[in-house]
């Protein structure tokens, strides 16, 4: 054990956990990293490319190295940072990316081959043969190099989402964030305070600085208690704000039960979308390391992390408690680490300071103007090589803290194209003024990293932010705290022969950057993609700025001239499951059910998706072994007897007003104002560009009342376009619109026996051809008084009606029609038979109205009225469209055994099959029980004059060519006698 005294862990309780199957103990308040270090475990994983032994580098979310897989089976979570994993009893973790035991990784051979694996190696080496890349090279490389692996199993956990609205979002619960939340909370503003840690306090928890001569934890506890007492303040702990989006919207993930052994029915995580009028970014700073040869050995970590482990978690990050710790620094922070360690009786081997004028501030050996040039030890640090005043030294130590200064965490301020700016006095990037609207950086992330600076700037940021939205706030009394000015000098890496790691997670070294420079991959964007620097789960939090500095050194330019670091969401990795908000499988999206859905289920219908709708596709009967059998039977039954089909999904729009007729005249290409009351007319609508976009029927119920139907797919679009026209194009017209799609259950009753069947349910309504002819409509009642609407329209080409009742009666009416029509051969049919019937009749549907066709192409050119104007009418007459000669035709195979395939393209027999000779394509095809062969509809050049001609349909994907005869598009009842009968 390498535990020290004190710290913020609860030693009254012991938590058991395992790492690679070995049992350890820790305490509440520990992270997995602190608990492992407390047990003397330094080796936690293997590196990405070279399989080098790696240990923990940091004490926070920036961790590049200590990535483990938590849990097992379907709950296995790869690439979890041990530094932010809250320890719980029973936690089990395994290390990643090694073959054989972690301590003796067989793939460590990669490290010996490292001269071959420099940046760009893969790009250059595995270029040919080309075909080998996907099948051989890439799988082999991926197997050897990588992070954790997904379980491949469905995620068994549940997730949640939510929305928060506040005046002020405070991102980060350290000194600056707490001061900001306190200021805003006392001012009565609605405040959300989010912090990724499980304990508020941020860096204050890791330092020994006193506030008003008391431990910082006293102040934190008092502030937290006050904030929790305020109803206008919400504290979200374990919550990472991962992205800044438009209009003051932030994405955040709350880890609700990740830290619990048993979630107890809770969701695992919640995705919060936070809309904040203003925000204070108090995200702190990330310490820089100083690359030197072999600086990636377990035991070498950031100096600030060593302080955090010692002070907060009471751990010395060494293998044995009496191992001394050394410090390598270019600033005063390193000396503070030494003092804190000494105060906890950890031996300090030496402080190596790059500054020649450095002075010791405690009783430890100091090498001023010196640098660390190498490290020793196999899977853990045993000694470092130091070069000072021209002399080399080897210093025995079990851990080395490296302090290269601090990089403000500008990430969330740069998500919105806010480019950070370089401050020479700080030798660091800070958030630019004019970053995300309404965001006020404070504390270390704004370059005010002293404790006093953080407290003051946090409170001021909150006050200034609230002032912008008219909420006056007074600065609270803040405690007195240390106020050492932030002084950072430029010392970016130790030049030398060995490999010095810049990016631990991606195994990118200073040499790789030099190679990128030689290969002219100098802009930072090229540097990143060439070397993979800054990629993967840590997104280069500990690497980017240092790499930029190295490149600047090579190019001889300044850092800001070389480039800036810019970040995109997410700040840290976010599980796709939580982004999905918890809806998976059947509940992935809303489902719409027709009013007769239960009836169709009872009949064993097979359903198909039509947008959000579930529609009955066909109704198999016992003994039917193939869907075609069922569909053929259904289609024949409609032509011979009577069929029933739920057509509720077609859009219905109620149009009222004294100008309703004029309005519809402008919406439809054909005239509607002249439609008589009690009559229905087929209509087509054009887009503004003159192409067809929807068709349907329009029924006139009264002088000032129409009912428009649309296709299922365009129900929403047509309604939206009509609303736009009403409100924006012609606000002077007296028109009112409302959708009634869901309000009415609508059932198609089609077939020669349709009239006889309907007569059995209507309440004394005259259905005779004289009283209610083709294209008539009327209000009526059915089944003893149920309000209904009847339309005599036909999609199948048969005598047909559509009857509508309030949706709640749809199921009962369908069952009634089925029960009462048995002797008439009543048969339910689904969308498949519906399609067969309409192809046989030559009626167009979505496949023909695909947005690239004109009214003329489908044979309805005459419908585009020239007697009035309508949307798209003039554009439909433009030269490019008017010249279009492809026309809708019917197609039948010359050999009746052949199949017509939708999507096939049409050519003249014997012609080359090229784009230049392409004469059209097949839009719809089916087997027609009426015709007795496969049939189709398609667009063919001059098709209206080519009836009887034999052409070729080519389906190059399947290598098929079929000879087809051109026919009229009506395969059944071309004169339309049946539907008028």
């Amino acid at each position: 054990m390498t535990r020290l005294g004190g710290g913020l862990v609860d030693r009254s309780q012991t938590l058991g956990f395992t790492f690679n199957g070995q049992s350890f103990t820790g305490h509440p308040g520990d992270t997995l990293a602190s608990a492992l270090l407390g047990n003397g475990v330094q080796l936690m994983g293997r590196s990405f490319k070279y399989h080098r032994p790696r240990g923990v580098v940091s004490a926070g979310s920036e961790e590049p190295n200590a990535l483990v897989t938590l849990r097992s089976g379907a709950r296995a979570e790869p690439n979890t940072r041990a530094t932010v994993t809250e320890l719980f009893d029973g936690l089990s973790a395994t290390s990643q990316n090694h073959a054989g035991p972690l301590g003796f990784d067989l793939l460590a051979v990669n490290d010996l081959l490292s001269p071959f694996f420099a940046a760009g190696f893969y790009y250059k080496t595995f270029m040919w043969p080309r075909a080998f890349w996907e099948k051989l090279y890439e799988p082999a490389i991926r197997k050897a190099a990588g992070l954790g692996a997904l379980s491949g199993l469905p995620d068994p956990d549940s997730y949640d989402r939510g929305y928060l609205h506040c005046d002020l979002l405070v991102i980060g619960g350290g000194a600056a964030g707490l001061a900001a939340a306190l200021t805003a909370g006392r001012a009565g503003a609605q405040v959300v305070l989010a912090d990724e840690d499980f304990r508020l306090g941020g860096r204050l928890l890791a330092e020994t600085h006193r506030l008003d001569d008391a431990p910082a934890t006293d102040w934190i506890a008092a502030v937290e208690a006050e904030l929790r007492s305020l109803s206008n303040v919400r504290i979200l702990a374990r919550t990472t704000v991962f992205g800044t989006y438009d209009h003051g919207i932030f994405g955040a993930v709350e880890r609700v039960s990740d830290h619990l052994r048993d979630a107890g029915g809770r969701v695992r995580q919640t995705l919060w979308r936070i809309t904040a009028r203003r925000s204070v970014l108090a995200a702190g700073a990330t310490e820089r390391h100083i690359p030197f040869a072999n600086n990636d050995r377990p035991g070498i970590m950031l100096g600030g992390a060593i302080r955090a482990y010692a002070n907060r978690w009471a751990v010395s990050p060494v293998a044995r408690l009496d191992d001394p710790v050394a410090i390598f620094t270019n600033n005063d922070d390193g000396h503070r680490t030494a003092l804190d360690l000494l105060a906890r009786e950890v031996p300090v081997a030496a402080v190596i300071d790059t500054r020649a004028d450095a002075r010791a501030i405690g009783r430890y050996p100091l090498f001023a103007g010196a640098r660390v040039t190498g490290s020793r030890g196999r899977t853990g640090l045993t000694a470092i090589d130091v070069r000072a005043a021209g002399t080399s030294h080897t210093i025995r130590c079990g851990a080395l803290g490296v302090s290269g200064g601090w990089n403000p965490n500008v990430h969330l301020a740069s998500h919105h194209r806010g480019r950070p700016v370089w401050r020479d006095d700080l030798q660091a990037f800070v958030p630019a003024p004019g970053g995300p609207v309404g965001m006020f950086p404070a504390g270390a992330c704004s370059g005010r990293g002293s404790t006093q600076g953080a407290l003051t700037s946090g409170a001021e940021a909150a006050r200034d932010a609230l002032a912008q939205i008219g909420i006056p706030a007074a600065l609270p009394d803040l405690p007195r705290a240390e106020d050492t000015p932030v002084r950072q000098a430029a010392f970016w890496h130790v030049p030398g022969k060995g490999r010095a790691w810049l990016d631990f997670q991606n195994d990118v070294t200073v040499k790789d950057v030099a190679l990128a420079h030689r290969e002219n991959m100098r802009p930072v964007e090229h540097l990143k993609r060439w070397t993979t620097l800054g990629m993967a789960t840590d997104q280069g939090k500990t690497a980017n700025v240092s790499a930029l500095a190295v490149m600047a050194e090579l190019t001889g330019k300044t850092i800001p001239e070389t480039g800036t670091t810019i970040f995109r969401p997410p700040y840290t990795g976010v599980a796709l499951s939580v982004l999905g908000g918890g809806d998976t499988g059947r509940d992935f999206r809303p489902t719409r059910l027709t009013p007769t859905h239960r009836w169709a289920e009872d009949l064993g219908a097979v359903f198909t998706d039509a947008g959000q709708w579930k529609r009955a596709q066909y109704f198999p009967k016992p003994g039917e072994t193939h869907w075609r059998q069922t569909v053929d039977r259904e289609a024949k039954a409609v032509r011979a007897g009577v069929g029933l089909c739920d057509v509720t999904t077609l859009g219905k729009i109620d149009v009222q007003g004294t100008d309703a007729g004029e309005f519809l005249n402008r919406i439809y290409a054909n005239g509607m104002a002249t439609l008589k009351i009690g009559r229905v007319r087929y209509g087509v609508m054009l887009r503004e560009d003159g192409q067809l976009y929807d068709d349907g029927t329009c029924a006139r119920m009264a002088h000032d009342h129409f009912v428009v139907t649309t296709t299922t797919a365009n129900a929403g679009l047509v309604y939206r376009n009509m609303e736009f026209a009403r409100q924006c194009l012609w606000p002077g017209l007296d028109v009112q619109l409302i959708s009634t799609t869901d309000a009415w259950a609508q059932i198609a009753v089609a077939g020669p026996n349709a009239r006889d069947l309907l007569a059995r349910v209507v309440d004394g309504f005259d259905l005779s051809n004289a009283a209610f002819p083709f294209m008539a409509c009327s209000d009526l009642t059915v089944c003893g008084g149920v309000r209904a609407r009847l339309f005599r329209i036909s999609f199948s080409g048969e005598l047909a009606y559509e009857i509508a009742v309030p949706a709640r009666y749809g199921d009962a009416l369908m069952r009634r029609l089925m029960a009462t029509g048995a002797d008439l051969g009543v048969t339910p049919y689904g969308t498949e038979a519906l399609s067969v019937l309409r192809i046989e009749k030559g009626h167009v549907a979505g496949a023909e109205l695909n947005g690239q066709t004109t009214a003329a192409m489908v044979g309805l050119g005459m419908m585009v009225s020239t007697a009035k104007d309508s949307i798209g009418a003039i554009m439909s007459r433009r030269e490019g469209l008017a010249r279009e000669k492809r026309r809708l035709v019917g197609l039948q195979p010359v050999d009746t055994q052949d199949t017509v395939t939708a999507g096939a393209h049409l050519f003249e027999g014997g012609a080359d099959m090229t784009l230049a000779t392409d004469q059209g394509w097949i839009t719809s095809a089916c087997y027609s029980p009426h015709v007795g062969s496969s049939i189709g509809l398609g667009f063919l050049e001059n098709g209206d004059t080519r009836t009887g001609e034999v052409i070729v349909a080519a389906n190059p994907l399947d290598g098929q060519t079929v000879r087809l005869r051109v026919t009229p598009s009506h395969f059944v009842d071309p004169q339309g006698e049946r539907l008028r009968g």
Binding site: V267, L593, Q656, I738, G784, V786, A807
Partner: protein, 182 residues
């Protein structure tokens, strides 16, 4: 007398209800609904003493409820009147206006619970600031990719109006959230 038996939006003869902790969820197929849109130049009528509410608001009285649903447009609700020709009644009260039956266009689900928990439920459901969900407010919004209207009658009572055809998905969403928070 009609001899067809109606089904509720959730597909059963009787309305569905659920108790989960302090919450209750109840399907309300008895509420009739009609849209009322003013003709050009028409002054908003007063319905049996009920003044039609301003944007974002809900008003009720004399067994009727009204919520603003667009410029010059309201939805009028009548509890217990779903089996009547409610649109005809509204048409009679609002002479000259365009009235359309909407009873079966929507499904109403009533949600009750203690005020604070109801707020927590709403946080999980809709992306609206608390003001838009205060008592007396009616707001059209999106809930799990579905278009809905939320009517907050008082701190403890809410009606969620959704598309009738999507009633199953809406109920599933509401049930999931209230069970988690109960």
């Amino acid at each position: 007398m009609a001899d067809l038996a109606p089904l509720t939006a959730l597909g059963a003869a009787a309305p569905r209800s659920l108790e989960a902790g302090a919450f209750t969820l109840t399907e309300r197929p008895d509420i009739a609904l009609a849209s009322l849109a003013l003709r050009r130049g028409q002054i908003a009528p007063i319905l049996d003493g009920l003044t039609l509410p301003a944007p974002g608001a809900f008003a009720s009285g004399n067994g009727l409820g009204a919520l603003w649903s667009g410029q010059g447009q309201w939805l009028i609700a009548g509890e217990g009147l779903a089996e009547t020709d409610f649109a005809a009644r509204v048409r009679a009260m609002a002479a000259g206006a365009s009235v359309t039956d909407q009873t079966d266009g929507w499904t109403a689900i009533a949600l009750t619970g203690d005020a604070a928990r109801l707020d927590a439920v709403l946080e999980r459901l809709v992306n609206l600031p608390p003001d838009a969900l205060a008592p007396g407010r009616a707001t059209r919004t999106v809930l799990h990719h579905m278009s809905v209207i939320l009517v907050r009658h008082d701190r403890e009572r809410l009606t969620i109006w959704g598309m009738r055809s999507a009633a199953g998905s809406l109920w599933h969403t509401l049930e999931t959230v209230v069970r988690r928070l109960s």
